[in-house]
Symmetry: C2
Subunit: 118 residues, 2 copies
């Protein structure tokens, strides 16, 4: 039973609150995380919220990477959605955990697109 | 125990394969689905793949909406990630299920950002 895509859902807690609100930092770090996974970047869209919080999407040839931050809670939700065997989404996850200074995290892996081929 | 966000993961199967590969249609339908949910659109990024397939992200004031399509399989993965009580992501989900002609679907709801407030 093969899935078309692998989806990692990261819950990053007790992060460095300053970087969670730093749009410039996140705009640099997300593409770097995608590159660390071996993915190819096709586009991006970021938004800084007032008074705090950032949303960012990076579209990849192999799917996407998403972040939403709640600096006031020290929390970030990250999704890494990839297809194909050439990328290693776990590498992007580890880079983001490290760069955001998450003292606590969980990763939920979900297989997407499990199709009945019978 | 309150969550910061609600995340719907849609598996849409046996869809209309033509619309899954129609970039113009998807660029219109995704923002419409966001509006149906009562969300405010802040930005978007779409990409058409060769020979087939589309990836699209819509960034919302209340988070994001994402689609990846595999027209050759009649399959689309959709994520609707929202925060706040003012939006109804289920309405976006129902619109997309309908517009993509999915004969079979599942929706997985995940609470994101359940923080220890103790």
């Amino acid at each position: 039973m093969n899935a078309l895509a692998k989806h990692l859902l990261l819950e990053l807690k007790d992060c460095n609150r300053e970087v969670l609100n730093d749009l410039g930092f996140l705009k640099r770090i997300l593409p770097e995380a995608a590159s660390a996974a071996g993915a190819t970047i096709l586009g991006e869209s970021f938004h800084q919220f007032a008074p705090h919080g950032v949303s960012g999407a990076v579209i990849l040839a192999e799917s996407h990477l998403f972040i939403h931050t709640w600096p006031e809670c020290g929390y970030a939700a990250v999704d890494i959605f990839t297809c194909g065997d050439s990328v290693q989404p776990e590498k992007a996850a580890q880079k983001l955990i490290r760069e955001l200074g998450a003292k606590s995290h969980s990763i939920l892996e979900i297989q997407r697109g499990i199709l009945d081929t019978g």
